[in-house]
Symmetry: C2
Amino acid sequence: MTKLTSIAIFIAGIFASAHAISAEPIEVIKAVKVTEPEKVELGKMLFFEPRLSKSGYISCNSCHNLATGGVDALPTSVGHNWQQGPINSPTVLNANYMLAQFWDGRASDLQAQAAGPIENPKEMGYSHALATQTIASMPAYRAHFAKVYGDENVTIDRLTDAISTFEKTLVTPNSPFDQYLLGKQDAISVDAKAGYQLFKSKGCVSCHNGPAVGGTMYMKMGLIKPFHTNNPAEGRIAVTGKEADKFVFKVPTLRNIELTYPYFHDGSVWTLEEAVNTMADIQLGQKLSDKENLEMVAFLVSLTGDQPQITLPILPPSNKNTPRPVPFSHDPMSSKPVSSELLK
Amino acid sequence: MTKLTSIAIFIAGIFASAHAISAEPIEVIKAVKVTEPEKVELGKMLFFEPRLSKSGYISCNSCHNLATGGVDALPTSVGHNWQQGPINSPTVLNANYMLAQFWDGRASDLQAQAAGPIENPKEMGYSHALATQTIASMPAYRAHFAKVYGDENVTIDRLTDAISTFEKTLVTPNSPFDQYLLGKQDAISVDAKAGYQLFKSKGCVSCHNGPAVGGTMYMKMGLIKPFHTNNPAEGRIAVTGKEADKFVFKVPTLRNIELTYPYFHDGSVWTLEEAVNTMADIQLGQKLSDKENLEMVAFLVSLTGDQPQITLPILPPSNKNTPRPVPFSHDPMSSKPVSSELLK
């Protein structure tokens, strides 16, 4: 190596580390390297598995639709028997970057989260016992569990472990903003750059930071002015019992925020324009000009990353040992009474 | 070319045409060559598009789930507001081989069929006007329509043309039985071979024939003995008004029948074993032995072909011009009244 080359490498090194240590509050999000492909595949099957619900109709993907940003794009979700969910479904994309799961953080991680909706009477309306019995009834699933876990036992822990392992792969790298952070100056517009400066200078980054641009802390919704909503959710107080945690929610990720409308825990706001102004007002006590609003929205839209490319799994057929779905509690049209009992 | 080679080719030709003209009542089903990939891609997006429903929750794939044999595997489907569908959802796989669509054949083709559920109040519960307005509100969709149809106009005819063009690609070739028909003797079991002989000798093929093993004709359900059901559907009479068409339904395809339980237009029977015995009894006046039943089922299971490999489409986001979904007619929890009006 010539002396000149060494110097060039040394100088390049300085710039590289200067970039690496730059104090940007938002970090580049990177694609996840899949180390357990068979478990991920099993988890994907279970994520799309409607037979984890009482009705045989609702899967994880029903409310966390990977065709639409990992959400159902509804204010609150449709659950078993068309019951209305209590709160807006958060996106499953980049969810592993959240410090905890659900708006109130009541599940410590994705595996704990995945167990919830299956047995929530307002969501999938099933039980862990019937869900595992359903999966265990199918030879193809048992073989898959054996391959991943060493034996055929289907337990709720393994089932949710597989689902959460799949979910951890649902990361959205390569957004225009990430390209910009990595040095590609023209990856985002002039408006988006101005929006990012505003996002920092106005104080948005104090909550929305890290690789997911959120999800690193809990914060009161309505810090400066109260948030008006008919949604009865009170946030963290439901977990901690502390009065100080009333209306304190997990700060949501802003990654792919263009796709994850409607906004806020009550899903009451449909446009980024309105969401940005509301946040500035009630969290920061500021009024944005129309230009500032436009720039902020341009920045937020630059956070849309590459969406996971998902090949729809082919699910194994039920058989006579599979508990039957019960979509309707009484089925007057069927020639046989419908029950969740095993077929004799 | 030597004389010997010519003779060899001539003899090979005899065998080839002997095979080609063999009077097998079931024909090999072949993968469809995609000639309009952009239209197929657009149709796939629309097939997975929940915003074609009033609720924003139900897509074509909800009842014709490509993860589960192109059906929802329920006796009758879940529709808008959890209304119970009137009849078992037929599979979308190989549906283009049906002489008409729906159990009563009231739609002449897949395009006509696709228009139905969108505006059926018990299914997607929307209107063609709002469905097309929804799709036309999104620049990405408009650009896709322009690429496929020459201009940006989103009409219900174009929309259903695209969906049906996608559906025509949903063919399941390469089943063990097809491999057997093509000469691979060990592609199916001894039981399946015996089952196929029974299928022909007992008379099942008189209705279940052609490439889809069905779908070529209408037939009375309960030809020899009445079919007992609480389902009020009366079949073709609803289309023709003729008393002779009472309880006459389209003969369903038996391709992938292992996956498309529960069976019959009322979805009342969950196992192939029972379905086979019922058909033999009420359509043919025959009682099968346990061995015959087992063989027939082995044959039917050999009709499961390669399932379409579907990459989940990434759908474009709604915007302020997109009509909002109305999953719940009254939403007490949202801070704003929910309506399908455009956002002002």
